[in-house]
């Protein structure tokens, strides 16, 4: 197998993993929205596939480093792939977290506003993750920048949650639901960061410079 083929395979594997992660995120967010326990359990089980994909990328990357002397674009691409796979793996863990949260709240009353916020944030993170991976695939640094800017929306949602939460705080019935959803929001916020990190990788790949977005 030539160097070209090895790198192409590595990138293909990354996008396959990306596909798995996005599907898992969609399942997680929908499960949480519909309080669908079965879907949640299915999401959690699929995490094994994501981990396997991650391991494969990791191993192939090490092998590539050991056998080839990568420079320039090849170097930037392969290191970006490795870092992106790590971010994707974290996003996969986020999907699992969504599944767990669903299982915890499905039979409890939940504050509607916070619930809606979580779902909105979840959809936003799915959108960002999807665009980030697309920008990486197409070497589109403008898309990367635009996607990274959506993190502002994530922050706004987060802040709105902060304003809502105290209003509901006193209500004992809703406490469990509130608690779980708030922690879920914090986790989603980190998911947004991972998507932004992937956008930074796109920028690095295209320009050779590393910048924080």
């Amino acid at each position: 197998m030539s160097l070209q083929e090895k790198i192409e395979n590595l990138e293909t594997d990354l996008h396959l993993m990306g596909r798995l992660v996005l599907d898992a995120l969609v399942d997680g967010v929908r499960a949480l929205e519909d309080k669908d326990v079965n879907r949640a359990i299915a999401t959690i089980e699929k995490d094994d596939e994501i981990d396997a994909a991650y391991l494969k990328i990791d191993q192939d990357w090490v092998e590539l480093m050991a056998t080839e002397q990568l420079v320039a674009t090849d170097l930037r691409l392969s290191t970006s792939i490795l870092q992106a796979s790590l971010h994707l793996e974290r996003l996969g863990d986020l999907a699992v977290y969504l599944g767990n949260t669903t299982q915890e709240i499905f039979d409890s009353p939940v504050p509607e506003t916070v619930h809606a916020t979580v779902v909105e944030m979840g959809d936003l993170v799915i959108d960002m993750a999807s665009s980030a991976m697309e920008s990486l695939k197409n070497r589109d640094k403008d898309l990367a920048l635009a996607t990274a800017e959506k993190d502002n929306q994530v922050n706004r949602l987060y802040n709105s949650m902060l304003e809502e939460a105290p209003k509901i705080a006193g209500n004992e019935d809703l406490f469990n639901g509130l608690f779980r959803l708030v922690t879920c929001i914090r986790t989603l916020e980190r998911g947004g960061d991972h998507a932004v990190d992937i956008c930074e990788l796109t920028h690095f790949l295209v320009t050779g410079k590393f910048e924080e977005f």
Partner: protein, 273 residues
Amino acid sequence: MEKVNLNTSQENLSKEFVFKADNVSVSYGEFVAIKNVNLDIVKNKITAFIGPSGCGKSTLIRTFNRMNDLIPSASVSGTINYQGVDLYDKDVDPVQVRRRIGMVFQKPNPFPKTIRENIAFGLKVNEMTDNIDDRIEKALTQAALWDEVKDDLDKNALELSGGQQQRLCIARTIAVEPDTILMDEPCSALDPVATKRIEDLMQELVQNFSILIVTHNMQQASRASDYCAFFTTKTSDDGKRRTGELVEFSETNSMFTNPKEELTEQYISGRFG
């Protein structure tokens, strides 16, 4: 090709240059080996010349110490400015040039004499014979060879290993106190261990000398050099002659992580050449 500037920051202005090549071309009779080279070589740094075979890197490096003068059909156009002086000015003595700008060759070529005599020769022809034993010791020490040969200075140089012979050649070059050392693929005849020793030696030597190295080994260029010049060949219209050209010249780190020219990217990634 227009003159490549490294950058115009304040940092650049404080750099000293040992060579400034301005539109240099070298021909052998009618055959143009390399043309239109514009390069500024920074002092006390290691600059590597890389590129496929036949792109004129060896030819170019030999213009810097006027070794091309030995080939009757060779001619050089353009100017090479060495520390403020035009190297090819008619008043310049090539013999003095070669003392100030030393050269190490591809295949180690020690004289078939003792180790001591190998170094003494350069000192004698340049009338640097005062404290000759100290000078010999200093040169061998700087070339990281003293410890290995200090008890055997009267041994024949040809009995040394390839790597040792090459270090001896480096020692005799630096004994005459040049300010620049030109190296034409100095490690291609050596095994990897000997090669590594020479590369380590280069890092030490660069504190006192400017070093120009022609190398076929891309990893060596990326590991060992501070600046890198990439040359390629262009075939003439009738397909019969190939002339070398400078494609890109930049700091090694940036050339190997993010080269400016597509051709450079292809060559260093191993896609051609």
